[in-house]
C-alpha cells in the first residue's frame, strides 16, 4: 500500500466511523439481531464487517443508546437490539447534525459541479 493509499484508507475509515454509528442507530428503530441488522444495512448499500458491527452494538448498548434481550427465534437463542429512549433522542439530534453537514457539503460542492458541467459541455 502506498502512502497515498494508506492516507486515503485512514481518512475513509474516519469518515465511515461516525456514519456507521448513525446508520446502526437509525436501523435499530426496528428490532434486529446482529446478523439480520448487517444484512439489512448491506441491502441498503452499507456493508459493515461482522467484526466491526457486533462490537459496535455492544458499545452502543453500554452507552445506553441501545437495549437488548436474549430471545429464542427459529430454535436458536439470539440477542435482539433496539433503540433505547435515550438512543431515540440522540438519533434525532445526530440526524439533524447530519442533515446540516450534508447540506453544507452539497453547497460547497455546487460551484465545482457547475464548473465540471461547463467543462464537459465545451468538450
Amino acid at each position: 500500500m502506498t502512502v497515498a493509499e494508506n492516507l486515503f484508507e485512514n481518512l475513509r475509515l474516519e469518515l465511515r466511523r461516525g456514519c456507521l454509528t448513525l446508520a446502526v442507530l437509525a436501523q435499530l428503530r426496528q428490532e434486529h439481531y446482529g446478523y439480520t441488522l448487517r444484512k439489512d444495512l448491506a441491502e441498503r448499500g452499507l456493508e459493515i464487517d461482522e467484526s466491526t458491527l457486533y462490537p459496535l452494538l455492544r458499545r452502543l448498548e453500554s452507552q445506553g443508546l441501545l437495549v437488548s434481550q436474549w430471545r429464542e427465534e427459529e430454535k436458536r437463542n439470539k440477542r435482539f437490539y433496539r433503540l433505547s429512549a435515550e438512543g431515540e433522542q440522540i438519533l434525532v439530534r445526530l440526524l439533524s447534525e447530519w442533515n446540516v453537514i450534508n447540506a453544507s457539503i452539497s453547497r460547497i460542492l455546487e460551484p465545482l459541479d457547475a464548473d465540471d458541467n461547463k467543462g464537459q459541455a465545451r468538450k
Binding site: Y35, D49, E50, S51, R58, W70, R76, N77, K78, R79
Partner: protein
C-alpha cells in the same frame, strides 16, 4: 462446525472473563445464522474451503476479540500535550542537574571520581525520569477514565485558557528574523554541555588544550599564576549560567528567537573573567617554578610574557566593551523607536 468451535474458543481466550460467555453466545448465534443463510443460497452445506474463507473474512481471533475491548490509551489525546510538555521540562532539568552533579559536584567532593565515568550515568538517569513521568501520566489517564468523579480530567492546557492570556508577540518575531528550530536549540545546549565537560577535563589533562605542548609546559621553568584558576572557574561558572538560561528558554518554549537582553547579558558577564585577569595583583600571569635558580636566566622573559598577556587582555576587554556599548545603544534606539510608534 468443529472449525467454528475452535474459532470461537480462540476468540474466547482474548476476551475479559466476565463477558466471555455472553459475547461468544452472541457471536455463535450470528455466525450460525450467516452460515445457514449462505447454505440456503447455495442449496448445499458449505465446503471446508468456503467455511475457512468465511472465518478468514471475519478476521483473526485476537483482532475480533480486541474490538470488544473498550478503546484504551496509555496516555490519551487530551492529556498527551501536557504529558509531552512535562516530559520535555523534566528531561531538561534532569539533564542540567545530572551534568552539574556529575561534572562538578561529585569530582569536587571525591577526587577519585572520574568526570567521564560520572557523565556516563546521564542516559540512565534520563531514561528513569522519562519512565517515571510516563507512569505518572498513565496513572492519571487510567484514573480519569475509570473514576471521573474522583479524578476529573485535567483541563489545564485544553479548556481553561483565555485569548488574553496569550503572551505578547516576540519583538524578534516582528523583525521577521528566521526562527531557530527546536533541534538547533537543543544542539546548542548539548554542545554547550560537551564544551563544559571538555573544559572541566582540561586541568587534569592539559594536552586537551595545548596538545603536544603540554609536555613542554611540564618540563619548562615556567608555571601559571594562581589568578588563572580564578579565571578558569569564572569561565566554567559562566558557561553553566549560559546553558541553564538556554535550558530555561527551551522549557518555556522561547527558543525560536534569540533574546537580545540575554545576548547582551552574556556579553556583559563575559567581561568578568577578563577583568579578573586585568586586575591580577602586579599583573603577574606567569611565574618561575624555581625563582632562586632561574631568575637571572628567565626573569626578563617572564616580565615580557606578563606584559604581553596583560596587553592582549586589555585589547580584548576594550573590544568587548565597545561591542557591549554598541549593543546597548542599538537596544536603546530600538526601544525609543518602538515607544514612538506605539504613541
Amino acid at each position: 462446525m468443529e472449525l467454528l468451535d475452535r474459532y470461537l474458543q480462540a476468540i474466547r481466550r482474548y476476551l475479559p472473563n466476565r463477558r466471555q460467555d455472553d459475547i461468544i453466545a452472541e457471536l455463535r448465534a450470528n455466525m450460525e445464522s450467516q452460515i445457514e443463510d449462505r447454505e440456503g443460497e447455495l442449496g448445499r452445506p458449505l465446503t471446508e474451503g468456503e467455511f475457512e474463507d468465511l472465518l478468514r473474512k471475519m478476521g483473526p481471533p485476537v483482532v475480533v476479540a480486541s474490538r470488544y475491548q473498550p478503546q484504551q490509551y496509555l496516555i490519551g489525546p487530551n492529556l498527551f500535550p501536557l504529558y509531552f510538555y512535562v516530559l520535555r521540562v523534566a528531561m531538561l532539568w534532569a539533564f542540567i542537574v545530572t551534568v552539574l552533579v556529575s561534572a562538578v559536584v561529585l569530582p569536587l567532593i571525591n577526587q577519585s571520581i572520574h568526570v567521564v565515568d560520572s557523565l556516563s550515568h546521564i542516559p540512565g538517569v534520563l531514561i528513569q525520569v522519562a519512565g517515571w513521568v510516563t507512569i505518572v501520566f498513565a496513572a492519571i489517564e487510567y484514573a480519569s477514565t475509570r473514576y471521573p468523579q474522583i479524578c476529573p480530567p485535567l483541563e489545564g492546557i485544553t479548556r481553561k485558557w483565555h485569548p488574553n492570556s496569550l503572551p505578547e508577540l516576540d519583538e524578534e518575531t516582528v523583525r521577521a528574523g528566521k526562527p531557530r528550530s527546536f533541534a538547533m536549540a537543543v544542539a546548542e545546549i548539548v554542545f554547550g554541555s560537551l564544551f563544559l565537560g571538555w573544559l572541566l577535563l582540561v586541568p587534569q589533562y592539559p594536552f586537551l588544550i595545548m596538545g603536544p605542548g603540554a609536555a613542554f609546559v611540564k618540563v619548562s621553568p615556567f608555571e601559571l599564576a594562581p589568578v588563572w584558576w580564578t579565571f578558569f572557574w569564572w569561565v566554567v561558572g559562566l558557561n553553566m549560567f549560559q546553558i541553564a538560561w538556554k535550558c530555561v528558554d527551551l522549557a518555556r518554549g522561547k527558543w525560536r528567537f534569540r533574546n537580545r537582553i540575554q545576548h547582551v547579558a552574556f556579553k556583559a558577564v563575559g567581561l568578568i573573567p577578563i577583568l579578573v585577569l586585568l586586575t591580577a595583583r602586579d599583573q603577574i600571569y606567569v611565574l618561575l617554578k624555581n625563582p632562586g635558580a632561574n631568575q637571572l636566566k628567565y626573569g626578563q622573559n617572564v616580565a615580557q610574557m606578563n606584559n604581553g598577556i596583560h596587553l592582549a587582555f586589555t585589547v580584548i576587554c576594550a573590544i568587548v566593551v565597545i561591542q557591549l556599548a554598541w549593543d546597548l545603544w542599538v537596544m536603546a534606539r530600538d526601544g525609543y523607536r518602538r515607544r514612538g510608534l506605539a504613541s
